[in-house]
Symmetry: D4
Subunit: 235 residues, 8 copies
Amino acid sequence: MGRRERTGLPEIVLAEGKSLQDLERLLRRLDTLPEAILISRLSGAQKDLFRVLRKEGLVIREIPGADLAVLHPGAGDRPLLGATAALVTAGTADARVAAEVEGVLREWGARVVRADDVGVAGLHRLLQVLPALKAADPGVYLVCAGREGALAPVLAGLVDRPVLGIPTSQGYGRGGRGEAALLTMLQSCAPLAVVNIDGGIPAAVVAAQILRGGLRRPAHPSTPSGSRASRTRFA
Amino acid sequence: MGRRERTGLPEIVLAEGKSLQDLERLLRRLDTLPEAILISRLSGAQKDLFRVLRKEGLVIREIPGADLAVLHPGAGDRPLLGATAALVTAGTADARVAAEVEGVLREWGARVVRADDVGVAGLHRLLQVLPALKAADPGVYLVCAGREGALAPVLAGLVDRPVLGIPTSQGYGRGGRGEAALLTMLQSCAPLAVVNIDGGIPAAVVAAQILRGGLRRPAHPSTPSGSRASRTRFA
Amino acid sequence: MGRRERTGLPEIVLAEGKSLQDLERLLRRLDTLPEAILISRLSGAQKDLFRVLRKEGLVIREIPGADLAVLHPGAGDRPLLGATAALVTAGTADARVAAEVEGVLREWGARVVRADDVGVAGLHRLLQVLPALKAADPGVYLVCAGREGALAPVLAGLVDRPVLGIPTSQGYGRGGRGEAALLTMLQSCAPLAVVNIDGGIPAAVVAAQILRGGLRRPAHPSTPSGSRASRTRFA
Amino acid sequence: MGRRERTGLPEIVLAEGKSLQDLERLLRRLDTLPEAILISRLSGAQKDLFRVLRKEGLVIREIPGADLAVLHPGAGDRPLLGATAALVTAGTADARVAAEVEGVLREWGARVVRADDVGVAGLHRLLQVLPALKAADPGVYLVCAGREGALAPVLAGLVDRPVLGIPTSQGYGRGGRGEAALLTMLQSCAPLAVVNIDGGIPAAVVAAQILRGGLRRPAHPSTPSGSRASRTRFA
Amino acid sequence: MGRRERTGLPEIVLAEGKSLQDLERLLRRLDTLPEAILISRLSGAQKDLFRVLRKEGLVIREIPGADLAVLHPGAGDRPLLGATAALVTAGTADARVAAEVEGVLREWGARVVRADDVGVAGLHRLLQVLPALKAADPGVYLVCAGREGALAPVLAGLVDRPVLGIPTSQGYGRGGRGEAALLTMLQSCAPLAVVNIDGGIPAAVVAAQILRGGLRRPAHPSTPSGSRASRTRFA
Amino acid sequence: MGRRERTGLPEIVLAEGKSLQDLERLLRRLDTLPEAILISRLSGAQKDLFRVLRKEGLVIREIPGADLAVLHPGAGDRPLLGATAALVTAGTADARVAAEVEGVLREWGARVVRADDVGVAGLHRLLQVLPALKAADPGVYLVCAGREGALAPVLAGLVDRPVLGIPTSQGYGRGGRGEAALLTMLQSCAPLAVVNIDGGIPAAVVAAQILRGGLRRPAHPSTPSGSRASRTRFA
Amino acid sequence: MGRRERTGLPEIVLAEGKSLQDLERLLRRLDTLPEAILISRLSGAQKDLFRVLRKEGLVIREIPGADLAVLHPGAGDRPLLGATAALVTAGTADARVAAEVEGVLREWGARVVRADDVGVAGLHRLLQVLPALKAADPGVYLVCAGREGALAPVLAGLVDRPVLGIPTSQGYGRGGRGEAALLTMLQSCAPLAVVNIDGGIPAAVVAAQILRGGLRRPAHPSTPSGSRASRTRFA
Amino acid sequence: MGRRERTGLPEIVLAEGKSLQDLERLLRRLDTLPEAILISRLSGAQKDLFRVLRKEGLVIREIPGADLAVLHPGAGDRPLLGATAALVTAGTADARVAAEVEGVLREWGARVVRADDVGVAGLHRLLQVLPALKAADPGVYLVCAGREGALAPVLAGLVDRPVLGIPTSQGYGRGGRGEAALLTMLQSCAPLAVVNIDGGIPAAVVAAQILRGGLRRPAHPSTPSGSRASRTRFA
């Protein structure tokens, strides 16, 4: 049973840390599957390998600006999320992680509205762009921020949709490499959910699951006002 | 502009750490608002205060089994989520946090299906209850787990909806007080999103935002298969 | 040579951790000095001791709302800062530390303008109060914030005076007890300076030194535009 | 609204971590602004880029001994601080950070008096140089120190002006890379304010804000002795 | 008295961190011992040295796929464990450590049954392979897992033999480099024992000691049911 | 499927952190099982509860000197390990954890030989007692040690059986509460396996699994000397 | 072989953490030894126990101001160090640890010269007292300091005898409980040796060993100038 | 006032981290001093610089096997310690730090007796060499040990002279890079003093101060047995 059946989304292969031989063997095995498969965290040498493999007939498309590629894009049953995610970054140093998030979401059919460089050191920029972001009616907000990471709690206090914080490995000295940003998001007074530092892939997958839920789930008739909602206990 | 207008959900007041005088002053001020307001992390002394305040006419309902109460329940425009959340705990020590999550979600109109004591030390229990959880078609899974916290990554590999991990402050020695569980969830190979240790309230709020999105958002026509989804950049 | 001669400000005695006997002995010794002396972090038992000592003729005034007192207030040559500090708190839990800051600054003759409960979860409150704070023309801003501490970097991006961040020991789980707030302030993209968690006293002293400098120092004629300012090297 | 309007000081661009393309694009955009702009933490490759850009007409001056440069120096309305800062280092390893501090302050018109290599392992050197430093009547002291960082608390006990501690990333083994120095400064018995490890830029900006305040702010009539200073509460 | 006499198992020499000269000197000294000796954590340069030494008559066999070699293999009295160990890995990134474990155990005569890539993100794979592992009747299970390390506690809840957890230095951000996996195993609700991150060698040695015990120790007559077993106290 | 079927050993219930109501409910449920069940980490109040429950017919025996009890001792099919474990402590402060280990092992039919107070500060005591420990032919050594925990690596270099290190929460200042002892054991040059700080219960269970393996497993014919042992790969 | 024979100094028994029964049993056993024995870290209840034991004939003298006592003082062969130690504290909060150090050293016959409250926040106090300390010709300096602990590196730069730093568990927020003081001493530019936080007993013992060496060891004829001293290698 | 006058020992210059220009400038300045000066932590490039400087007349001798050199060796008044230090290492990886210790001590005229590779994994080696070490009558023991660092507490329990522990940056995974060894030494039950990880230089200097004290200090008449030693309080 593949990931698609279990989790409803296609496989994403982590290339980072894999040798060229391991990656080639894996791609040849995956090539037999009837599905578009994402490959993340590609190094330059791994992208060079693709050139060789393409000559041997593998269809691999690289996603520009991100270290992502798709094996036989368009194959199989695409997720077709057909919904919108808002992607917000605090500074230019967050771009690599944001590209990963955007690449995955758009590959799976989501619309992405994006605002860059809107960190809290210049709060007016966030306030300027916020109406346009809200107008796009996103099903989820994703915030990439390093250093002190304050963009995530600030945004979470301003919008009425789920916010996923993605701390990026920016910063220096004590609390650097994303540690401060992660703690800021975990301690946020305005509620939000968090992934690990530089966790663009898990954030994109959870966002896709949220967006998909927003499209297809029929409402069951709500509990009448004034009484508490029903409850079922299985274990 | 109150929290309701900004984030679409009613206020939750954190009682923990507030003196009785501060809490009383706050409740009297909130009593003038036309909205049901949750109060969380109540101590015994704070619950005793409620008895006094009720005599003076404040309508405060305690939620049994959780350290939660509602100020003038039923007032205003309830969220009426009208959707289902699955709430799963690894052990009995996770109950206090789970009660907080369930209390908030049911107060806001969600159905909660729940499976307790299904930690991975006895994996068969999780596997037994999983079909029933899935059959309830939950819009989100919330997993409360302490110690090694492995229930969250295991569950996230088995379901196709967003999973929110809530590490609980269980455990001993190195990695105790929820530290190991938090790291387990941040490092999970199966994607999930996380809140801080014992973060029942933020988890419930994010889950509510996910559930609400699942009910109301109309799908915009999906991008045709084979091309990448559109993108808008605002900043 | 007392602290006054060395640092230009009166002594502040830390009562925390001192036995009643040690504190009494110290107060009797300080009582012979011709100067008003602050005593900080007083416990209830220590305040009770004051009642006894007052009967024996010591003049000790407690500062309401803070765990501070002044030994023979009005004695000696008060600092008479005669300038304004802005004191801003994120939530009610920051009040104890803020009271310490305000008590010291006002005792030494500063005006204090204050805005409470303006944390970033409700950003509109900060934006509402900011014009009034700026209009008071404060020589320094002091920000008390726990949890994610994001108020400090947000404010530092909005004002043109020095900002001192005071992380407070608020928060839960990972990064709790002020750890996240401290890191947030150390990593802030908008420049600010920081004291340790709950460091109300050092913050107040540094603020007093800043305010005093703002009153009395004559400008030496600036270096002509276009050339770099002069430089002197002593060691 | 640029940083100048918000914070009263010109922009400082962090070059560290930016690609040559990103930096070039940014400089061309900033070149249109009517203001001298500092660029910090420049790599050798980035400085080489300047040679190319100068040929294309951009006016960029490098500040010798520091990894700093100024884009169109002399342009616009310089801060003209016209006041003195004292800059003190514990050892030669602190020179890189001190050069950054001095470069910024002198670029903005401050006088800098400096004493190097006066760490506490040879306390007599500090005591020798201290009278000259005091005689320069600095509005602020900046202390760069790594290893055990004890110079900062020692100096803070000897002077009557605000002290900003800048821990530098010196040291070995446990507490190395500036960790011990940071903690020493946060725990200092003599009050001082701190920036993050190697935080030369934020220290310089806060120092500039302190110096500017020392020049221009008129004293409001001090509260009469014996009564507490007035207080205003906005929120 | 060599390691063999003290601990019943041959020497394993750690090559990591040794200079080529130090390693050569050591090998020449060990060459005089009547025993097969393992050398672990070999670098490429150290393997090159072997080619030279072989020409000079030293018998050194490299173990393919692992950074291990044996000096005069077959010499002396091999351990001949003659029992089975089960070796399980969560992902391909754990292969280097697993090769080390397998190399040592097989060199000492153990059978190794192995299941790779059975991490909990795809729990079905573990459940599929488990019956075959159990059927091999292993005397000990060794689990190599990085990231969240959840495979170890899950497996420990499913088998009735001792489980040794070997956290591998996989993972990113907070809890990366094996930290989360180590904590997961230390906090496991299902009992297991742990070695340090990437501790393939100590795990293999402890496993060998367990396997050897399983072969040779005669049962002393058990204490009769209903009374507690006897006890001897020496110190 | 209970723990007995899965892991071959009876249930051990952790009483710590359970309310009296929760514990009573659990005991009544377990009372219906045909098996002796251990209850660990009992508080005084929980032991008082037993007195009440005994009057109501529950058969609960407390194990003297440890915070352990057995529900209907003698019931069911006892493990009857019938083998010997050596239990060694560094100091008197390790007694509480050692009692837990000994209680579990003896309850399950193992012989326990024990040497107390043989920490390395007085190495001669360990060397004196070691021959007697070895003569008892233990299948496993368990070492309880706090502070610097050096007893575990020292012992592991002296014996030829598996050693399980149990760091105890002893020590002061930096590395206190068992942290140093845990790291010492994880870094031990002489191979050993480790459980978490104060992990008496997991250590006892793993030791029981090792001892049981030592009694019952038949040797399969060893691979002939000179060739590597066979290998089977399932996944 | 007791501690006296091995290490040349009498036993010091750590009372902290021992139950009254354990302590009584231990004292009765030690009472048979022909030696004065120190007991450290006594609680109030343990001191009460002494009153009972004295009635039964045990000779126990408490050392005023410290949590120390001596069992049959004067018995056996006292160390009679007959040399001088200098003991220096930064603040009154360091008194408890200093009393422990002084109690042990004086009990063993050393002279102690002491300077209190000479922390670096008031450097002049240290400089005033230093000539008197030096004039006493101490064989070792012991420095008790918490908070930033800077007294130890400052003193180590001023004297020509070995300095032992004893960080005390003072301080607040980040680096509190002695952590910053320990790191300061470990990173000190002026060489010194360190014990753990609140390690008065180990510091006193090492100081006693230094003092004893200063009295009794005859100089062997020094290596002639210009050549390097001889060297012997045993292993 | 140079280091010699203050601390009685010649200067040791830390080369690590200094540029070639900085080092050259420093050496030329020191060349004017009438004293042999040690230079530590030399890189290969820095040693190459010496070749150039020697041609220009500077007398610099490198100490073989260590990254140390002496500027005009033999100049001035050598310390002529004329006493013996015992230097003990746990493994070959500790050699670099030990060479630093030995180089300094022998340069200053001390005899060094040395035992290598006597870590506790093979305790018999330490026990074999110990009588010879003791027979050399060392005034101090220095122990270099990484990994679990247990050699230091073991040795400290066996000798009657001061022991200085030098944790070395050996080890892997959790507690690696000397962290575990440092904690082991800080928590040692047998008293010892510690320097930071890889702190060969401070250890050598403190050892030299101990040795020098052992040669020259006359005993003042000891306090008569039975009364406590005298005490003087200066501050």
